[in-house]
């Protein structure tokens, strides 16, 4: 299969901080590739290197078969980039923004309207409105339209759904899914684990290093232990109590419950009895299927070599 992006041994430092440390990965053509990781993991820096905006200190980055440091002029014609921050002209209207980016890339809105019609139709009723006055979800749709207007071969989206409501986030991913039929490779980053499942493959990234690259299913399946959820009305007391117990390997809060793994990996009555002894009588313990976030936390812990029990 053809590779849209091939990165080997990319490193980047900003002064004493290491933003990226020996990053290697490859993205297949027309797949949706996700980078999942917390803020400060190095996602934006990596994206800026892919989009030719930054030069790596070490390593090679080949994008669409071109070298990202030397062929930047040619490459820039074929990339659609949506930075993490809303980067359109707030004092221009929706229509003016779109027309501007179309002209800059040497095309017209009409020419590629088909490509963006699905997305743009949502905001078209507001085309006279200034971009600065749009809601968060509409801003993202406009930014995506602008990034797509020249029919790029590679679309790079840096945290496109951050700060957007849940419904708009879901809609946004539906739209990305629809772009598959145009053979556009999409690289997207997100801090939301639940969005990872909608990518073809994801890379878990932490402190400038890639922890794992695989399909979301395989990443989940890579979770090595049995996972249990514990619920109680007193969540804060529950997690403190759980972490005191030497039998418990990890305990992380997840929404309204606590995800727990055990040292001996088998659940018996002792945990329940321990909780009752500690004054938590209403605990409900169940076995659960691990999600990507569980796997991510497990990998992070291995990487850091520490457990939160210490």
């Amino acid at each position: 299969m053809l590779k849209a992006v091939e990165s080997s041994g990319i490193s980047k430092k900003f002064g004493p901080t290491i933003a990226l440390d020996n990053i290697s990965f490859s993205v297949n053509e027309s797949e949706i590739f996700g980078f999942i990781g917390p803020d400060g993991a190095g996602k934006t820096t990596l994206f800026r290197i892919i989009t030719t905006l930054l030069l790596p200190d070490e390593g090679e980055m080949s994008v669409l078969g071109m070298d990202s440091t030397t062929d930047y002029k040619e490459l820039r014609k074929n990339i659609g980039y949506m930075p993490g921050r809303f980067s359109l002209y707030q004092d221009l209207s929706v229509e003016e923004n779109l027309n501007f980016f179309a002209t800059v890339f040497g095309t017209t809105v009409e020419e590629n309207y088909e490509l963006i019609s699905d997305i743009y139709s949502h905001i078209e009723p507001f085309k006279k409105r200034l971009a600065g006055k749009l809601s968060g979800g509409m801003k993202q749709k406009l930014a995506l339209s602008c990034a797509l207007i020249h029919k790029p071969r590679l679309l790079i989206l840096d945290e496109p759904t951050t700060g957007v409501d849940a419904v708009s986030r879901s809609e946004f991913w539906d739209m990305l899914g629809k772009l598959r039929k145009y053979n556009i490779t999409i690289i997207v980053s997100t801090p939301y684990m639940d969005e990872a499942i909608r990518c073809d493959r994801v890379a878990l990234i932490q402190n400038g290093e890639i922890l794992s690259i695989d399909t979301p299913q395989n990443i989940k399946a890579g979770f090595s232990r049995k996972l249990f959820t514990v619920k109680s009305a007193e969540k804060y007391k529950l997690i403190k109590t759980l972490r005191k117990n030497p039998e418990i390997l990890t305990a992380y809060p997840f929404g309204d419950s606590i995800h727990v793994t055990l040292n001996n990996n088998t659940l018996d009555n002792s945990l329940y009895e321990y909780l009752v002894r500690e004054g938590i009588g209403d605990a409900v313990i169940m076995e659960a299927e691990a999600g990507i976030e569980d796997r991510f936390l497990e990998l992070m812990e291995k990487d850091n070599g520490i457990t939160n029990k210490a």
Binding site: L53, P83, Q90, L92, F105
Partner: protein, 369 residues
Amino acid sequence: MKRFLGFVKKEFLHIFRDYRTLFILFGIPVAQILIFGFAVSNDIRNAGVAILDLSHDEITLKLTDKIISSGFFKKTETLLNYKDIDRVFKKGKTKAVIIFENDFGKKLISEGKASLSIIADGSEPNTATLVTNYTTAIVNDFTTELAGPVLNNSIRISPDVKMFYNPNLKSHFMFVPGVVTLILILISALMTSVTITREKEFGTMEVLLVSPLRPIQIILGKVMPYFILSFINVLLILALSWLVFDLPVKGSLILLLAECMLYILMSLSLGILISTVSGNMQQAIFISLIGLMLPTVLLSGFIFPIENMPKIYDYVSSILPPRYFIVIIKNIMIKGTGLMYIWKETLILIIMTLVFIGLSVRKFKIRLE
């Protein structure tokens, strides 16, 4: 080319959508011209003088009359003794007191000599100098008139002073070219540096960089709208100075406009250079205002003649573009000279422009830092 025009169109949209920019662009020049023209004036008109006439004869009355009716002075008070001088100055309306000695007229006729004192309010040195100079001139004039019949036996040389190019020494002649020089460099450099740093600050530069736009297209696209608007500004200022202050352009208007275009281009490229060294709008504004306005006002020869400055300031001012433009514009507007006399200054401006453009294109970052 279509890309470039699209970019220029976008810049115009920014400008016309932002009322503050429009105000800075057109409001400030008009205000400056009017303020400098009317308020900051070196001429005296109706300056208050008080008269202490200890002689009170025909000649003193005549001379007083001549001084008051000259139009430069207005009599505030007639004093009776020396003690009043301090009091009248403290009131603030009187800029000078003219004192005729006892028996002024008698002495003048019998001895051919009489004393007159001018006491000026030194707390305002400029006005004081002007007032004493004007008074002395009037008194000299008066003695010459008087001397004609009386002292025809002595030889006298009377200098007849005429001001070439500006016979009435109107201060507008100095301020209009000065303001044009100041405003053009301020507005042009400030606006371009702000508009480029704004793209950096709002993150839109990131998107522009990841586009096929070339640095030169971005730079020219930024410069073009402001070039047009600044040129309109020049026309506005010239029309204003002609209509309000009767200041005509003595030399070739076409040459003047061409020189203005050159100066605008120089200022714009300076603005771009400023934007490449400043990371945000505040820095750009700071550098443009403090770095350009003060030296232009103080060191370009706009207000204080360069010849009178210590040598070191002379050297400093020789790197300031306004210094050369002010010579050019004064020559064309007031003296009516042609390119023959200002080619040196013009050449310096051209070289400066090329250096600024060259540096900006080189320093313009095709990537993020």
